[in-house]
């Protein structure tokens, strides 16, 4: 019954009356669109393009925003309010009439823009995409303006509240992400990006909420379901808030104490988050202290502005204390909850494949028919990983066990020779995935224990085959035509490599020497973990021994090295048809072989 009462019996005529009052706005709007979207492209000879439609849409946003602010301003002035509310029309009926009037106004402007867009002759994108997300933004924006009008008692604060409320889901996301970063600091192996991606892909579908998904993934019927759901929720808020509004507080910045508290907490939380980019390298305690101090300062200032007083009232202080208790509880609970997962290690037999590496951006295809695309590792399936160009998935049980052993050692101790970070992704037989992310920190008293486990892993045949197929896979060259080779000498006295030397270059002898050198290197290198996590496309593990060394006092020093480039006439992403090696004296057998060709 109450819902029925929310529509005035003369709503249609009241809307027409409202539209008549907007005659001037219609004229101004048409004039703006006509000049910027039609006349200017004609004058400049550029024809109407997507950019002009996009500009037109921005103008529509601006015009609708201004109109909403004007139309809902009756709630922000005692005289207007008394005039409007004293008439035989309820608050809700009045709001409904205002919403419908603005929706009609918006529809007319968007339709005009849509009709103009049909005249685009050259298009580099689907122009309809511009309308797919902007139309729901406009409609939800009108509803948000109504909510903001109800909650505030001043038109300027109403405008600001509309922007704040419209972007509230994004603000939540920023806060949640910050809390994930705290979890990352608390819990070993947890990564805020993984948590964040999992959260937004599985639970908090912000892409759907803002209709961006329908631009990226295409338009489907869920678009209307999402739009209807959002509008129902927004209207539900309008319904509840309109009934509770205290009109006598019109003229204040915010008329609802609840909203005042809510918004001061949200904005005060965003301030330290915004500053966190400046303090990105602080430790956990520094991050928490910075958050608390900046939050307190921002909270005080926001409340001083909202209350127009430098004295805080008791409710504000209670709310601050409440939030601080919540924040402390969050840290304690997060620490407690993540403790049980920190030491979790899989059983090798349950694992289908494992990825370990520093690379988290995977370029691959979902199926053979799919196009290649880039994804964060946290969004990539095992199939996607398998088809990736720059990823090795270890599937041998012994190798998996060796990675688990390395993992165990990393959990025990996160010291290393220098700062580095990497991801381990376990793909379970049952389809589950376990991600762990580790930051190792430079410690002068690092005990070297990780190297023991890493070397054991790297000396497994499966690892060698997958990591360096050119060197260890004897079938690698089968079926491939003879590669073309170029060799450059790098040294203090640069010499050219004679063509005859390249002609005598034997790939098999070269591989045999590399194998000897690598076997030795993998057993002896004290930076083996770095090698383990590098992309398989990078053979630059030789880098520390060659190329240019940077010294703080000395000029660049060039070490003696042979830069070998090998390319096959094979055009597949997966065949490694080109790679290069820098062979220094740290790889003596190979170095000597190349040097012998030059003699």
């Amino acid at each position: 019954m109450e819902w029925k009462n929310s529509i005035h019996k003369n709503t249609g005529r009241l809307v027409i009356n409202g539209l008549k009052e907007k005659r001037s706005w219609f004229l101004v709007s048409f004039l703006i669109l006509f000049i910027t979207v039609i006349i200017i492209p004609i004058i400049t000879g550029s024809r109407i393009q997507e950019g002009h439609i996009a500009v037109g849409m921005v103008e529509v946003f601006f015009l609708v925003f201004i109109n909403c602010m004007i139309d809902f301003s009756y709630m922000h002035d005692g005289r207007k309010l008394a005039y409007s509310i004293s008439k035989p029309i309820t608050d809700l009926q009045k709001i409904n009439v205002t919403i419908i009037t603005n929706v009609v106004f918006t529809t007319v402007l968007v339709t005009v823009l849509f009709v103009i867009s049909r005249f685009i002759t050259t298009s580099y994108m689907d122009i309809n995409e511009v309308f797919i997300f902007t139309v729901p933004w406009l409609i939800t924006g009108i509803f948000t303006a109504a909510i903001s009008g109800i909650l505030t008692g001043n038109s300027i604060s109403g405008s600001l509240a509309t922007i704040i409320n419209f972007t509230l889901p994004l603000s939540f996301l920023a806060i949640i992400n910050y809390f994930f970063r705290i979890v990352e600091d608390i819990a070993i192996g947890f990564n805020s990006s993984i948590l964040f991606n999992t959260f937004i892909e599985n639970y908090y579908r912000i892409d759907k909420l803002y209709f961006v998904k329908y631009v990226e993934d295409g338009f489907d019927f869920t678009y209307f379901i999402v739009l209807a759901t959002v509008l129902v929720i927004l209207y539900g808020l309008i319904y509840v808030l309109a009934k509770r509004r205290k009109h006598e507080r019109s003229g204040e910045l915010v008329v609802s104490d609840g909203y005042k508290s809510f918004i001061s907490i949200i904005i005060a939380s965003l301030v330290p988050i915004a500053f966190s980019s400046i303090f990105y390298n602080v430790g956990f305690s520094g991050r928490i202290i910075t958050f608390v101090i900046l939050f307190a300062l921002a909270y005080y200032l926001i409340n001083a502005v909202l209350e127009k007083s430098f004295r805080l009232n008791r409710l504000t202080i209670k709310l601050f204390a409440g939030f601080m208790v919540f924040f402390a509880l969050f840290i304690i609970i997060a620490d407690f909850a993540t403790n049980q997962f920190e030491g979790r290690l899989p059983v090798a037999s349950e694992i289908s494949s494992v990825y370990i590496g520093s690379n988290t951006w995977i370029y691959s295809q979902e199926t053979d028919e799919s196009e290649f695309e880039g994804r964060q590792i946290y969004s990539a399936t095992e199939e996607f990983m398998k088809k990736a160009d720059n990823v090795i998935l270890y599937e041998d049980q012994q190798t998996i066990q060796a990675i688990i052993d390395v993992h165990r050692e990393v959990i025990r101790n996160q010291d290393y020779y220098y700062n580095m970070s990497f991801v381990i992704a376990y793909y379970y037989n049952n389809g589950d995935v376990l991600y762990r992310y580790y930051n190792l920190l430079e410690k002068s008293d690092y005990d070297g224990q990780k190297d023991v486990f890493v070397k054991e892993l790297m000396n497994k045949d499966d690892f060698k085959l997958k990591r360096m197929p050119f060197v260890y896979d004897d079938g690698y060259l089968t079926g491939l035509v003879k590669p073309s080779i170029t060799i450059h000498y790098e040294g203090k006295d640069v010499k050219s490599i004679p063509q005859s030397a390249i002609g005598e270059f034997d790939v098999e002898i070269f591989r045999a020497n590399l194998k000897k050198d690598f076997d030795k290197y993998l057993m002896e290198s004290d930076k083996s973990l770095n090698f383990l996590i590098q992309s398989p496309n990078d053979y630059y593990f030789m880098e520390p021994y060659g190329r240019y060394k940077v010294d703080t006092t000395e000029p660049y020093i060039v070490e003696e090295a042979y830069y070998v480039e090998i390319s096959f006439n094979e055009e597949s992403m997966k065949s490694k048809n080109y790679f290069s090696l820098r062979v220094t004296k740290a790889f003596p057998e190979t170095f000597e072989y190349i040097a012998s060709l030059m003699d």
Binding site: E21, R79, L81, S86
Partner: protein, 300 residues
């Protein structure tokens, strides 16, 4: 009948309306008078449901008044600080209000426009304060409300227009049996038209009574005596105020005037004794004086 019982309202910690009780009959003009800032406008805004009370109820013909009740559609409120939508004229506003008020009468509208000589096509915001009040009053009358709430409606109007106002209002009350609650500081004018008065002070109705009864209860006399007068205490009357102007004393009292005269005669040689007519202003000052309002002495 419009009945307000135990209505309370606080603006944050400030208790602006305290246990308000009002009883305004149909066919009656109810004068709401009170000290500045006592809550008259706030009370009117509660009746029209612009503000929502913290407690208490408003009934009209025994039906509870809420924002959604049918009865409130017959209420019309003309506020003190008038507002008209931008660029609106009296004609356009009539057309708009016709969509909201079911009994809007074009015939009455035209008649009143002619009577007040208002240009219906002139932008209301370019009109003088007095013209705006006339326009607002015409719209209110044309809406044929059953309850009319007028807040300081005659402020800024000249005597001729005020007389026109009262003529229209009294005619309307008589012919259509409407309830009018009028808040004003023009006590002398209210004196002539009000049937009932509610006197407000600091958020409470300190007195609500029929005008006739108020005047009957409160007496004012002037007398001259030989010697110096001192206030008399007696069970049959209560002296409220006495002042001396020259050799004549003016006394306001409740109770038996004849008993007071006899007491004077018993004590003094009474030279002159006349009973004076009591007006609303006198009642107002007396009642508020009783509540401690305006009793401060100006330090010399």
């Amino acid at each position: 009948m419009l009945q307000i019982s135990l209505l309370n309202k606080s603006f944050r910690k400030f208790h602006v309306l305290k246990d308000i009780n009002v009883n305004a009959e149909a066919g009656q003009i109810y004068g709401l008078v009170g000290s500045n800032g006592c809550g008259k406008t706030t009370l009117l805004k509660h009746i029209i449901q612009v503000f929502r009370q913290d407690s208490g109820e408003i009934h009209y013909n025994n039906n509870l008044i809420t924002e959604k009740s049918e009865e409130i559609k017959d209420f019309y409120y003309v506020q003190d600080d008038l507002f008209f939508p931008q660029n609106s004229t009296l004609k356009s506003l009539y057309d708009f209000e016709k969509l909201l008020y079911t009994d809007m009468s074009l015939e009455k509208f035209n008649r009143l426009v002619k009577y007040f000589k208002i240009d219906i096509n002139k932008k209301l915001n370019s009109m003088s304060k007095g013209q705006k009040r006339q326009a607002a009053f015409v719209l209110a009358m044309a809406a044929n409300p059953k309850v009319l709430l007028l807040d300081e409606i005659v402020d800024g109007l000249d005597a001729v227009i005020r007389r026109k106002f009262w003529n229209v209002l009294i005619k309307e009350v008589i012919e259509n049996n409407i309830t009018v609650i009028i808040s004003s500081h023009a006590l002398k004018e209210l004196d002539n038209i009000c049937d009932k008065v509610g006197i407000m002070h600091e958020g409470t109705i300190i007195k609500e009574e029929e005008m006739e009864s108020l005047k009957e209860n409160l007496k004012r006399v002037q007398f001259a005596i030989e010697g110096e007068y001192e206030d008399i205490i007696d069970e049959s009357f209560t002296l409220l105020k006495s002042i001396k102007v020259g050799s004549v004393y003016f006394v306001t009292l409740r109770g038996d005037v004849d008993a007071f005269r006899k007491s004077l005669e018993d004590r003094y040689k009474l030279l002159i004794f006349d009973e004076l007519a009591v007006n609303l202003e006198e009642i107002f000052i007396t009642e508020l004086g009783g509540a401690g309002y305006g009793m401060e002495e100006l330090d010399s």
